[in-house]
């Protein structure tokens, strides 16, 4: 196998929002099975794949987690004419929804819809200065109201519809690169670990409901109680108008996060591994608990040593999220080498302050 990019492209056109991650889970479970001794799905829907380390006695336990869900919408109202009003399940900027194609996941099957926009011919100059809130947007199924009422129910989920575009320099654009890119990192890491000897037992986890509050991570952190819990999630790619400490260059390697919520010794070790193996990396600083699964891991059960790594993407939470497959590979190298070098002495040192 060359790499997991074709799988990533498949995942980016698969629809799975918070609480309905099934379609992505179905795609990745067979791939996890090819690397793991056991793959289980817990009551929340998290997927936990176990890859045993080698050696007798107590072995380090490391959890790697990437969330499967993407931001979504939910049908809240069917209006006269069969137009749908929606509410958020995750954080869309309503301005980026205007004119988008979406998929309504109805009982009888998926339905394509278009988010309406007013033609410029009918738009008064003063309207141009206003951005419509989500409550003013509507979905057009191009069906009579009676047909809509037959097929669509309040509560039906809605996700973006977008092809994947392959850009220059191994960059790719589409929906849900947040966080399918990190699912690819998870699998690329397991692939590389097959070539390495590692003592650590690895729990490769695909979590649910990250976009609505890190909910899957909370239960899986508690259930597994690893020595080290590493969340893999995307961060902000550099773009004009952003602060320097919130901008990470594409193709400059993974970002390793540092801050009170993350274990400083795991952070330092990740940096050391990157240096020794000449893996390009960037450092992201957080002053508050991070907006990723590592936030929940730190306080799961008795408390865990948490870390956060990930690749930068541009245009986060839109249908054209853009990242580099080269960064995905570098992030996987970093994680594979970190795991291969993890031993019990390091684990014991995590509680020494």
């Amino acid at each position: 196998m060359e790499n997991h990019q074709p799988l990533l492209e498949q995942l980016m056109t698969t629809h799975a929002g918070p609480g309905f991650e099934g379609a992505v889970r179905d795609v990745i479970v067979p791939h996890l099975r090819s690397y793991a001794q056991a793959v289980q799905v817990d009551v929340m829907g998290n997927v936990v794949a176990q890859v045993a380390g080698c050696g007798e006695g107590r072995r380090p336990r490391v959890l790697l987690a990437a969330h499967m869900d993407e931001i979504a919408l939910v049908v809240a109202r069917i209006e006269a004419g069969g137009f749908l009003r929606v509410v958020q399940t995750g954080g869309f900027d309503p301005r980026t929804l205007v004119g988008q194609e979406v998929v309504v996941h109805a009982r009888g099957g998926d339905l394509l819809a278009v988010v309406g926009s007013k033609p410029p011919h009918l738009t008064a100059p003063e309207e141009r200065g206003k951005a419509a809130p989500l409550s003013d947007l509507y979905l057009d199924l191009a069906m009579p109201e009676s047909a809509v009422r037959e097929r669509v129910r309040i509560g039906d989920r809605v996700t973006l519809s977008r092809d994947v575009y392959l850009l220059r320099n191994r960059r790719l654009a589409g929906k849900s690169l947040d966080n399918r890119a990190s699912i690819a990192i998870l699998l690329e890491t397991l692939h590389r670990l097959q070539q390495l000897i590692h003592q650590a037992d690895v729990y490769a986890v695909a979590t649910v409901q990250e976009e609505v509050g890190l909910r899957g991570a909370q239960t899986v952190g508690f259930a597994v109680q690893p020595d080290v819990a590493i969340a893999i999630d995307v961060t902000f790619g550099a773009f004009p108008g952003q602060a320097a400490d919130e901008s990470f260059a594409l193709d400059a390697g993974p970002a390793i996060s540092f801050g009170p919520n993350l274990h400083r010794k795991v952070f330092q070790r990740l940096v050391d591994v990157a240096e020794r193996h000449r893996i390009p990396y960037q450092i992201e600083l957080s002053q508050t608990p991070v907006g990723a699964d590592a936030n929940a891991f730190q306080v799961a059960g008795p408390g865990l040593a948490a870390a956060l790594v990930g690749i930068p993407i541009r245009y986060m939470h839109t249908s054209v999220e853009t990242g580099s497959y080269a960064d995905i590979e570098q992030c996987a190298r970093l994680l594979a080498h970190y795991i291969a070098e993890l031993d019990m002495a390091q684990v014991e040192d995590l509680s020494c302050y």
């Binding site: 004119g99 278009v114 011919h121 200065g129 951005a131 654009a173 907006g291």
Partner: protein
């Protein structure tokens, strides 16, 4: 399918080559002759020697698009492309859309700063065009310049698909739906000279049609268009213009034309006689090629038949396939009744 091929063809205003080639291929061997003029209009002719009236049908090949104006160098902008609109585009529909650029159809995306990094007051306002960039994945300006240059035109990368209840989505139904109707009409047999003008640069002021009409000097002209349709939730009835699925629309008055009442009534009555649904277009704004055609030379009699297009000038436009079909039926009926002498000049 012709509408799909035409919808996905690349034809921003002034760069209609791809559309012209598709049409030329379709009509090759099916008309007496085809010529291009100095502006780039494609004019197909059938039965030039037949007795009158000389009838001109018009559809514009161009679509609204974008033009690359700068390849950014240095800083966080490096390798990103600045652009401006070719034709009327509301900047609010641009964010988070893929585009295809230039003759090699280089893919890119229009992105903006993520919502997480926007201040609350920023979120209330639309993102202006000068804060938007096209990203082709270039590492820097030199990398971008290897495949794109200022002056390259771009279109939305929207695929055609049928969905809903007898509906289709795609880009540039304004006016590829007219082009498809005209290609079909040029294959019908009529006892008078029939000219099919596939025009350029409608979107920046009906420019191709004016020259085409001057060259053809028709007795009767009919523009085939995609027109504004905004019959959606919350839209006041006076602002809807047309109703989706209720048939082709005839114009009373738009920004460029006060309809030739006699010809409009003739088309309306023809529709009624043939049992074809038809509606009046109910807004004053917007225009089509007939606005230019009717003022050419000593003046030309005629009108327009329009297909309602929801989200016209946006990346994804929506038409009713019934409306498209009924517009074709109406056009055939009108051509037939002209042949039968139902409309006297």
């Amino acid at each position: 399918m012709l509408l799909k091929t035409l919808s996905e063809a690349f034809g921003p205003t002034g760069f209609e080559d791809d559309v012209r080639n598709v049409i030329r291929g379709e009509l090759d061997g099916r008309v007496d002759e085809m010529n291009t003029d100095v502006l780039g209009n494609l004019i197909a002719v059938k039965g030039a020697k037949k007795p009158g009236p000389k009838v001109m049908l018009d559809a514009h090949m161009d679509e609204v698009g974008l033009m690359i104006v700068q390849i950014c160098d240095g800083g966080a902008e490096s390798g990103l492309l600045k652009f401006r609109a070719l034709g009327g585009i509301d900047p609010r529909v641009l964010v988070s859309k893929p585009v295809l650029i230039g003759p090699d159809r280089i893919p890119g995306v229009i992105g903006a700063k993520p919502v997480h990094l926007q201040a609350p007051e920023e979120r209330q306002k639309p993102i202006p065009m000068d804060k938007l960039y096209i990203d082709i994945g270039a590492k820097d300006a030199a990398d971008a310049k290897a495949v794109v240059k200022p002056g390259d035109a771009a279109v939305f990368a929207t695929r055609y698909a049928e969905f809903g209840d007898r509906a289709a989505k795609g880009k540039s139904f304004d006016d590829r739906v007219g082009c498809a109707l005209l290609v079909e009409a040029m294959q019908t047999e009529v006892p008078y000279p029939l000219y099919g003008a596939f025009t350029v640069q409608e979107e920046i002021g009906l420019r191709g049609a004016r020259a085409a009409a001057y060259q053809i000097q028709p007795d009767i002209a009919i523009a085939l268009e995609g027109t504004v349709c905004f019959d959606v939730v919350g839209a006041p009835s006076h602002g809807q213009s047309t109703v989706f699925g209720k048939g082709p629309a005839l114009t009373v008055q738009d920004a460029q034309t006060i309809a030739d009442r006699r010809f409009a009534e003739f088309m309306w009555e023809t529709a009624k006689r043939h049992g074809i649904p038809v509606q009046w277009r109910r807004v004053k704004g917007g225009s089509n090629d007939f606005g230019a055609i009717h003022r050419v030379g000593k003046g030309i009699v005629g009108g327009s038949i329009s297909v309602p297009v929801r989200y016209i000038h946006a990346p994804t436009q929506v038409v009713s396939l019934d409306d498209v079909e009924n517009a074709g039926r109406l056009l055939r009926a009108v051509l037939q009744e002209i042949a039968e002498g139902s409309f006297t000049l």
